[in-house]
Amino acid sequence: MKLRVVDGGTYSEPVHQALERVLTDRLADGEMPPTLRFWSRDEPAVALGRFQAHADEVAVEYVEEHGIDVVRRITGGGAMYVEPGAVITYSLYLPRGAVPERVEESYAELDAWTIDTLRDLGVNARHEPLNDIAHPEGKIGGAAQLRGRDAVVHHTTLSYDLDLAEMLRVLRIGEQKLSDKAISSAEKRVAVLSAYTDASREAVVERMKGAAAERYDTFGESLSQDAIAAARSLASEQFLTDEWNRQL
Protein backbone atom coordinates (compact mmCIF):
# COMPACT_ATOMS: atom_id res chain seq x y z
CA MET A 1 0.00 0.00 0.00
CA LYS A 2 1.22 3.49 -0.84
CA LEU A 3 1.42 5.67 2.25
CA ARG A 4 1.89 9.41 2.21
CA VAL A 5 4.04 10.71 5.07
CA VAL A 6 3.31 14.23 6.26
CA ASP A 7 5.68 15.90 8.71
CA GLY A 8 5.51 19.65 9.06
CA GLY A 9 3.03 22.35 9.79
CA THR A 10 2.67 23.59 13.34
CA TYR A 11 -0.91 24.05 14.49
CA SER A 12 -2.88 24.80 17.61
CA GLU A 13 -4.54 21.88 19.37
CA PRO A 14 -8.04 22.77 18.08
CA VAL A 15 -6.73 22.78 14.47
CA HIS A 16 -4.92 19.48 14.99
CA GLN A 17 -8.06 17.87 16.38
CA ALA A 18 -10.12 19.35 13.54
CA LEU A 19 -7.63 17.88 11.05
CA GLU A 20 -8.46 14.43 12.43
CA ARG A 21 -12.07 14.84 11.33
CA VAL A 22 -11.25 16.52 8.01
CA LEU A 23 -8.54 14.06 6.95
CA THR A 24 -10.52 10.97 7.98
CA ASP A 25 -13.49 12.18 5.93
CA ARG A 26 -11.29 13.04 2.95
CA LEU A 27 -9.76 9.59 2.94
CA ALA A 28 -13.25 8.04 3.11
CA ASP A 29 -14.32 10.24 0.19
CA GLY A 30 -11.32 9.17 -1.89
CA GLU A 31 -9.91 12.70 -1.89
CA MET A 32 -6.75 11.81 -0.04
CA PRO A 33 -4.30 8.88 -0.07
CA PRO A 34 -3.69 6.77 3.06
CA THR A 35 -1.51 8.99 5.23
CA LEU A 36 0.81 8.99 8.21
CA ARG A 37 0.97 12.42 9.82
CA PHE A 38 3.41 13.58 12.50
CA TRP A 39 2.10 16.47 14.58
CA SER A 40 3.93 19.64 15.52
CA ARG A 41 2.60 21.85 18.31
CA ASP A 42 3.49 25.31 19.58
CA GLU A 43 1.70 25.28 22.94
CA PRO A 44 0.93 22.88 25.75
CA ALA A 45 -2.61 21.51 25.65
CA VAL A 46 -4.90 18.78 26.89
CA ALA A 47 -6.51 16.38 24.46
CA LEU A 48 -9.63 15.07 26.16
CA GLY A 49 -11.23 11.73 25.28
CA ARG A 50 -14.53 12.10 23.49
CA PHE A 51 -16.63 10.78 26.38
CA GLN A 52 -14.76 12.28 29.30
CA ALA A 53 -16.22 14.88 31.62
CA HIS A 54 -14.18 18.07 31.32
CA ALA A 55 -14.27 18.91 35.03
CA ASP A 56 -13.35 15.35 36.04
CA GLU A 57 -10.17 15.33 33.99
CA VAL A 58 -8.58 18.78 34.15
CA ALA A 59 -7.79 21.19 36.97
CA VAL A 60 -10.16 23.77 35.51
CA GLU A 61 -8.81 26.81 37.39
CA TYR A 62 -5.21 25.99 36.62
CA VAL A 63 -5.72 25.49 32.89
CA GLU A 64 -7.76 28.70 32.65
CA GLU A 65 -5.13 30.70 34.53
CA HIS A 66 -2.41 29.36 32.27
CA GLY A 67 -4.39 29.57 29.04
CA ILE A 68 -3.98 25.87 28.27
CA ASP A 69 -6.29 24.68 25.50
CA VAL A 70 -8.46 21.73 26.50
CA VAL A 71 -9.80 20.15 23.35
CA ARG A 72 -12.18 17.21 23.06
CA ARG A 73 -11.04 14.64 20.50
CA ILE A 74 -13.26 12.78 18.07
CA THR A 75 -11.84 9.56 19.56
CA GLY A 76 -12.58 7.94 22.89
CA GLY A 77 -9.94 7.04 25.46
CA GLY A 78 -8.27 9.12 28.14
CA ALA A 79 -6.99 12.66 28.59
CA MET A 80 -3.44 13.40 27.49
CA TYR A 81 -1.37 16.38 28.56
CA VAL A 82 0.93 17.42 25.69
CA GLU A 83 3.83 19.87 25.37
CA PRO A 84 5.64 21.04 22.23
CA GLY A 85 8.82 19.06 21.68
CA ALA A 86 8.11 16.79 24.64
CA VAL A 87 5.74 14.30 23.03
CA ILE A 88 5.55 12.49 19.71
CA THR A 89 2.07 12.36 18.22
CA TYR A 90 1.22 10.72 14.94
CA SER A 91 -1.93 9.77 13.09
CA LEU A 92 -2.57 7.03 10.60
CA TYR A 93 -5.51 7.51 8.25
CA LEU A 94 -6.18 4.19 6.57
CA PRO A 95 -8.93 2.60 4.51
CA ARG A 96 -11.13 0.44 6.66
CA GLY A 97 -10.22 -2.59 4.57
CA ALA A 98 -6.54 -2.18 5.52
CA VAL A 99 -7.26 -2.42 9.25
CA PRO A 100 -8.23 -5.58 11.17
CA GLU A 101 -11.94 -5.49 12.00
CA ARG A 102 -11.26 -6.79 15.53
CA VAL A 103 -10.50 -3.71 17.60
CA GLU A 104 -7.96 -5.40 19.91
CA GLU A 105 -6.03 -6.67 16.90
CA SER A 106 -6.09 -3.33 15.12
CA TYR A 107 -4.52 -1.46 18.03
CA ALA A 108 -1.76 -4.03 18.29
CA GLU A 109 -1.09 -4.00 14.55
CA LEU A 110 -1.16 -0.24 14.05
CA ASP A 111 1.23 0.35 16.95
CA ALA A 112 3.54 -2.57 16.11
CA TRP A 113 5.89 -0.57 13.86
CA THR A 114 6.28 2.03 16.63
CA ILE A 115 7.03 -0.59 19.24
CA ASP A 116 9.58 -2.22 16.92
CA THR A 117 11.26 1.16 16.47
CA LEU A 118 11.42 1.77 20.22
CA ARG A 119 12.84 -1.70 20.83
CA ASP A 120 15.49 -1.07 18.14
CA LEU A 121 16.44 2.03 20.12
CA GLY A 122 16.85 -0.13 23.20
CA VAL A 123 13.59 0.90 24.89
CA ASN A 124 11.81 -2.04 26.50
CA ALA A 125 8.41 -1.10 25.10
CA ARG A 126 5.43 -3.36 24.54
CA HIS A 127 1.82 -3.12 23.51
CA GLU A 128 -0.51 -3.36 26.48
CA PRO A 129 -4.14 -4.06 25.55
CA LEU A 130 -6.28 -2.35 24.77
CA ASN A 131 -4.54 0.79 23.62
CA ASP A 132 -1.40 1.48 25.65
CA ILE A 133 2.31 1.46 24.85
CA ALA A 134 4.04 0.53 28.08
CA HIS A 135 7.47 0.17 29.62
CA PRO A 136 7.92 -1.98 32.75
CA GLU A 137 8.23 1.29 34.68
CA GLY A 138 5.09 2.93 33.34
CA LYS A 139 2.96 3.97 30.43
CA ILE A 140 4.87 5.58 27.56
CA GLY A 141 1.88 6.42 25.48
CA GLY A 142 -1.54 5.55 24.24
CA ALA A 143 -3.52 5.26 21.04
CA ALA A 144 -7.11 5.97 20.12
CA GLN A 145 -9.10 5.02 17.05
CA LEU A 146 -12.27 5.99 15.31
CA ARG A 147 -13.79 3.94 12.54
CA GLY A 148 -15.68 6.11 10.10
CA ARG A 149 -17.64 5.09 7.02
CA ASP A 150 -14.71 3.82 4.99
CA ALA A 151 -11.77 5.13 6.93
CA VAL A 152 -10.04 4.53 10.24
CA VAL A 153 -8.03 7.13 12.12
CA HIS A 154 -5.53 5.79 14.62
CA HIS A 155 -3.60 8.40 16.58
CA THR A 156 -0.90 7.75 19.15
CA THR A 157 0.93 10.01 21.57
CA LEU A 158 4.26 9.02 23.16
CA SER A 159 5.85 10.92 26.03
CA TYR A 160 9.37 11.82 25.01
CA ASP A 161 10.35 14.22 27.77
CA LEU A 162 7.10 15.35 29.33
CA ASP A 163 7.12 17.54 32.46
CA LEU A 164 5.33 15.12 34.75
CA ALA A 165 5.02 17.59 37.63
CA GLU A 166 3.25 19.99 35.30
CA MET A 167 1.08 17.16 33.99
CA LEU A 168 -0.10 16.52 37.55
CA ARG A 169 -1.02 20.19 37.97
CA VAL A 170 -3.00 20.16 34.72
CA LEU A 171 -4.75 16.79 34.89
CA ARG A 172 -6.83 15.43 37.70
CA ILE A 173 -5.49 11.92 37.72
CA GLY A 174 -8.42 9.67 38.62
CA GLU A 175 -8.07 8.79 42.27
CA GLN A 176 -9.99 5.55 41.89
CA LYS A 177 -7.86 4.43 38.98
CA LEU A 178 -4.76 5.06 41.07
CA SER A 179 -5.90 3.46 44.28
CA ASP A 180 -7.10 0.39 42.38
CA LYS A 181 -3.63 -0.18 41.14
CA ALA A 182 -2.20 0.60 44.58
CA ILE A 183 0.24 3.10 43.19
CA SER A 184 1.03 5.97 45.51
CA SER A 185 2.70 8.30 43.05
CA ALA A 186 1.05 9.21 39.78
CA GLU A 187 4.44 9.89 38.21
CA LYS A 188 5.15 6.20 38.34
CA ARG A 189 2.38 5.59 35.89
CA VAL A 190 4.07 7.56 33.11
CA ALA A 191 7.41 6.65 31.61
CA VAL A 192 9.23 9.03 29.26
CA LEU A 193 11.33 7.85 26.32
CA SER A 194 14.24 10.15 27.09
CA ALA A 195 14.90 8.12 30.24
CA TYR A 196 15.70 5.05 28.13
CA THR A 197 17.35 6.35 24.97
CA ASP A 198 19.95 8.96 24.04
CA ALA A 199 18.26 9.50 20.69
CA SER A 200 16.76 12.96 20.28
CA ARG A 201 13.05 13.36 19.65
CA GLU A 202 13.81 14.17 16.00
CA ALA A 203 15.99 11.07 15.70
CA VAL A 204 13.18 8.91 17.11
CA VAL A 205 10.77 10.39 14.56
CA GLU A 206 13.25 9.70 11.72
CA ARG A 207 13.60 6.09 12.89
CA MET A 208 9.82 5.80 12.93
CA LYS A 209 9.63 7.06 9.35
CA GLY A 210 12.20 4.45 8.42
CA ALA A 211 10.13 1.73 10.07
CA ALA A 212 7.03 2.93 8.21
CA ALA A 213 8.98 2.79 4.94
CA GLU A 214 9.83 -0.86 5.61
CA ARG A 215 6.16 -1.74 5.89
CA TYR A 216 4.61 0.55 3.32
CA ASP A 217 5.51 2.20 0.03
CA THR A 218 5.98 5.66 1.53
CA PHE A 219 6.38 9.07 -0.07
CA GLY A 220 6.65 12.51 1.53
CA GLU A 221 4.17 15.30 0.87
CA SER A 222 2.59 18.27 2.64
CA LEU A 223 -1.07 18.60 3.48
CA SER A 224 -3.06 20.45 0.86
CA GLN A 225 -3.80 24.11 1.61
CA ASP A 226 -7.41 23.22 1.10
CA ALA A 227 -7.40 20.59 3.87
CA ILE A 228 -5.67 23.00 6.24
CA ALA A 229 -8.21 25.72 5.49
CA ALA A 230 -11.06 23.27 6.08
CA ALA A 231 -9.55 22.28 9.44
CA ARG A 232 -9.11 25.91 10.51
CA SER A 233 -12.70 26.61 9.72
CA LEU A 234 -13.91 23.45 11.52
CA ALA A 235 -11.77 24.39 14.53
CA SER A 236 -13.65 27.69 14.88
CA GLU A 237 -17.01 26.02 14.42
CA GLN A 238 -16.40 23.08 16.73
CA PHE A 239 -13.05 22.41 18.38
CA LEU A 240 -12.68 25.92 19.82
CA THR A 241 -16.20 26.02 21.25
CA ASP A 242 -17.35 25.23 24.78
CA GLU A 243 -20.35 23.60 23.19
CA TRP A 244 -18.08 20.80 21.97
CA ASN A 245 -15.22 20.87 24.47
CA ARG A 246 -17.42 21.16 27.55
CA GLN A 247 -20.39 19.14 26.37
CA LEU A 248 -19.65 16.75 29.23
Binding site: F51, A79, P129, L130, Q176, K177
Partner: protein, 116 residues
Protein backbone atom coordinates in the same frame (compact mmCIF):
# COMPACT_ATOMS: atom_id res chain seq x y z
CA UNK B 1 -36.91 -5.59 46.21
CA UNK B 2 -36.24 -7.41 42.99
CA UNK B 3 -38.12 -7.06 39.75
CA UNK B 4 -41.62 -5.80 40.10
CA UNK B 5 -42.11 -5.28 36.41
CA UNK B 6 -45.52 -6.79 35.74
CA UNK B 7 -47.25 -7.49 32.48
CA UNK B 8 -49.39 -4.46 33.06
CA UNK B 9 -48.85 -1.21 31.28
CA UNK B 10 -46.98 1.07 33.59
CA UNK B 11 -48.13 4.62 33.95
CA UNK B 12 -45.31 6.89 33.11
CA UNK B 13 -45.00 10.03 35.16
CA UNK B 14 -46.44 12.98 33.25
CA UNK B 15 -43.16 14.76 33.55
CA UNK B 16 -40.62 12.52 31.98
CA UNK B 17 -38.12 15.22 31.17
CA UNK B 18 -34.66 14.84 32.66
CA UNK B 19 -34.34 16.39 36.09
CA UNK B 20 -38.00 17.43 36.14
CA UNK B 21 -40.08 16.33 39.08
CA UNK B 22 -43.71 15.87 39.87
CA UNK B 23 -44.83 17.35 43.16
CA UNK B 24 -44.80 14.26 45.31
CA UNK B 25 -41.75 12.74 43.71
CA UNK B 26 -38.37 13.25 45.28
CA UNK B 27 -35.56 13.29 42.75
CA UNK B 28 -32.11 12.05 43.65
CA UNK B 29 -28.87 12.35 41.74
CA UNK B 30 -25.94 10.06 42.38
CA UNK B 31 -22.90 8.85 40.47
CA UNK B 32 -21.30 5.45 40.44
CA UNK B 33 -18.00 4.48 38.94
CA UNK B 34 -16.94 1.13 37.58
CA UNK B 35 -13.31 0.33 36.98
CA UNK B 36 -12.98 -2.29 34.29
CA UNK B 37 -10.06 -4.74 34.63
CA UNK B 38 -8.19 -3.58 31.50
CA UNK B 39 -8.09 -0.08 32.91
CA UNK B 40 -11.12 1.73 31.50
CA UNK B 41 -13.24 3.79 33.82
CA UNK B 42 -17.00 4.23 33.44
CA UNK B 43 -18.91 6.84 35.37
CA UNK B 44 -22.69 6.92 35.40
CA UNK B 45 -24.64 9.81 36.90
CA UNK B 46 -28.28 9.00 37.46
CA UNK B 47 -31.23 11.16 38.47
CA UNK B 48 -34.32 9.35 39.62
CA UNK B 49 -37.58 9.39 41.48
CA UNK B 50 -39.69 6.26 41.03
CA UNK B 51 -38.10 5.99 37.67
CA UNK B 52 -34.72 6.82 36.24
CA UNK B 53 -35.21 10.23 34.69
CA UNK B 54 -31.75 11.08 33.40
CA UNK B 55 -28.49 9.25 32.82
CA UNK B 56 -25.10 10.66 31.92
CA UNK B 57 -22.40 8.26 30.86
CA UNK B 58 -18.78 9.44 30.84
CA UNK B 59 -15.31 7.89 30.94
CA UNK B 60 -12.27 6.87 28.94
CA UNK B 61 -14.01 4.09 27.02
CA UNK B 62 -14.59 3.76 23.27
CA UNK B 63 -17.91 3.51 21.50
CA UNK B 64 -18.78 3.09 17.84
CA UNK B 65 -20.54 5.02 16.57
CA UNK B 66 -19.78 7.71 19.17
CA UNK B 67 -23.28 9.14 18.78
CA UNK B 68 -24.64 5.95 20.40
CA UNK B 69 -23.81 7.35 23.83
CA UNK B 70 -27.17 9.14 23.85
CA UNK B 71 -28.93 5.90 22.84
CA UNK B 72 -27.27 3.97 25.67
CA UNK B 73 -28.45 6.61 28.11
CA UNK B 74 -31.94 6.52 26.61
CA UNK B 75 -32.02 2.72 26.96
CA UNK B 76 -31.74 3.18 30.73
CA UNK B 77 -33.92 6.28 31.13
CA UNK B 78 -37.54 5.57 31.95
CA UNK B 79 -36.69 2.33 33.77
CA UNK B 80 -38.13 1.78 37.24
CA UNK B 81 -35.45 2.15 39.88
CA UNK B 82 -36.12 -1.42 41.00
CA UNK B 83 -35.60 -2.86 37.51
CA UNK B 84 -33.82 -6.21 37.63
CA UNK B 85 -30.28 -6.41 36.36
CA UNK B 86 -30.99 -8.81 33.52
CA UNK B 87 -33.73 -6.65 32.05
CA UNK B 88 -31.50 -3.61 32.23
CA UNK B 89 -28.60 -5.44 30.59
CA UNK B 90 -30.90 -6.60 27.77
CA UNK B 91 -32.17 -3.07 27.26
CA UNK B 92 -28.62 -1.72 26.98
CA UNK B 93 -27.64 -4.58 24.67
CA UNK B 94 -30.51 -3.71 22.33
CA UNK B 95 -28.69 -0.51 21.32
CA UNK B 96 -26.99 -0.94 17.96
CA UNK B 97 -23.46 0.04 18.95
CA UNK B 98 -20.05 -1.46 19.52
CA UNK B 99 -18.99 -1.06 23.16
CA UNK B 100 -15.19 -1.08 23.39
CA UNK B 101 -13.44 -1.37 26.72
CA UNK B 102 -16.64 -2.14 28.63
CA UNK B 103 -19.77 -4.30 28.44
CA UNK B 104 -23.48 -3.71 28.89
CA UNK B 105 -23.28 -5.43 32.29
CA UNK B 106 -20.74 -2.86 33.54
CA UNK B 107 -23.07 -0.04 32.59
CA UNK B 108 -26.06 -1.80 34.18
CA UNK B 109 -24.13 -2.46 37.41
CA UNK B 110 -22.95 1.15 37.68
CA UNK B 111 -26.52 2.37 37.12
CA UNK B 112 -27.95 0.08 39.77
CA UNK B 113 -25.21 1.03 42.20
CA UNK B 114 -26.00 4.71 41.70
CA UNK B 115 -29.69 4.27 42.55
CA UNK B 116 -29.10 1.86 45.41
Amino acid sequence: MEATVSGQPVDRPVANEPFQTTEDEHVNTESATVKIPDGKLLEVTVSWGDRIDAVRLTGDFFLEPPEARAELEAAIEGSRVDIDRETLVRSIESVDARLIGFEAAHLADATLEAVR
